[in-house]
Subunit: 257 residues, 2 copies
């Protein structure tokens, strides 16, 4: 059994919640991997440097300067803070960008209507499971930041939910994999401000309905798409939940086919 | 035989020279490790963010903001750029801060006359050679950034020359180790602007004389102290040279006892 845990930006931006998440993560039995997103820190540094993010149709464009800033903040500051904190909790971990050990290889997103810039897409061969298996063998916990590489010397900004999904799928060929998406809500909510309105499970038909009604929108759409994609491709279980309830079997949204 | 190669800030600040150094590094036979310094990039980002470096008596103080900036730039931007470039040269490498895999554990420099802030000192037990040996075994090249950790969740800024020296000493218990310091000169020069004036070798007595005459000064003093310390503690060979002459046995300064 392998646990793949993804912590989102809302958790990373909240120091207390981040520490709490890492403590709960540290209590999980067996082999495990942490994948983290970015949060607001890249935007904060961009603004401090007087740099305006390039946003087209509401989507962020990763130009050269933005790439440098996300590499610094995600693979530098956040990744190393998380690793040093895990070390202090007694968990020997190594922080990886996708370039390290060629652990996640991507290709630059093709230009259709919009050129997203230095953004990496994944495919089914992107994950180097050999290195991950070796880490498991020597008792080291991989901590993946959402930066990948194309193998030609270029780093690329990549969605952390997607990395967690593809990673889980690749590992599920050899292991039973549980993929947990952590964010700052108890689960997928029907009413954004009512924690009690969470769905204990979401099937694909319900997802489509909620999307049509705009109850599931913005970043929750690709998160759920990644969740369904993982389930359809061999991952044993996928949940979306708050780190408080990691070990509570009911207080979470379970994704079902 | 293990090659430990340290590339300094002068090389990192010069893109062409950096690529050239990595290419020459890639040609070295056998197991090898790259240690890199910081260069001017942290200062550039500090200035862009309107943050003035805290300098007392000519020495940089690593306060909390400076620590964040050096972690971002050294372990994030520079380390990942180097790793992705090595990958494109066919060298499977993993970038490490000292926190990753607990590879370099340090302790906060004690306050004497000056509080240097979040700066880490090393001791003889700082280097986790077990992990490095694993990396050699699976053919992965470690790339170390000059950020370490204290084991209690704190990252610390650490001199890259010192990391290279202690790393070489620790490995020399089991291997024959060659430590090469790369910078942008052919070797230690008698006249700063005359490349022909390099010393082909420097013994400790000569070092003392050159230091007294102020021919060796500033950052070259700790570099040479680290070089002598390595030699005295089991490292087979220590040289200071330009990456152009990596494989030229004469165009470099060899450190001798």
């Amino acid at each position: 059994m392998i646990n793949v845990v993804k912590i989102g930006g809302e958790i990373i931006d909240n120091k207390k919640l981040l520490i709490y998440s890492l403590k709960n993560f540290s209590k999980l039995d067996g082999s495990k991997i942490l994948v983290h997103g970015g949060g607001k820190i890249a935007d904060i540094f961009s603004k401090k440097m007087g740099y305006n993010n390039n946003i087209i149709n509401g989507r962020r464009i990763t130009d050269k300067t933005t790439l440098d800033i996300v590499v610094m903040t995600y693979s530098g500051l956040l990744n190393k803070r998380i690793v040093s904190k895990l070390q202090s909790l007694g968990l020997n971990s190594i922080g990886f960008s996708g370039a390290d050990g060629n652990i996640v290889k991507s290709y630059k997103r093709p230009i259709k209507d919009i050129d997203y810039g230095y953004v990496g897409n994944l495919n089914i061969n992107s994950i180097n499971t050999d290195l991950i298996k070796y880490m498991f063998k020597i008792g080291i916990i991989p901590v993946l930041s959402p930066i990948t590489h194309d193998g030609n010397g270029n780093l690329l900004n990549t969605n952390a939910d997607t990395i967690a999904s593809y990673l889980s799928i690749s590992l599920s060929k050899e292991y039973k994999v549980i993929l947990s998406y952590f964010f700052n809500k108890i689960g997928v909510l029907n009413h954004l401000n009512d924690e009690k309105s969470y769905y204990s499970k979401i099937e694909e038909n319900l997802f489509k309905k909620l999307k049509n009604k705009n109850i599931i929108n913005k970043g929750m759409i690709p998160k759920l798409e990644n969740a369904f994609y993982a389930l359809k491709n061999g991952v044993y279980k996928v949940t979306i939940s708050h780190p408080n309830y990691l070990n509570n079997p009911t207080k979470k949204t379970i994704i079902c086919l």
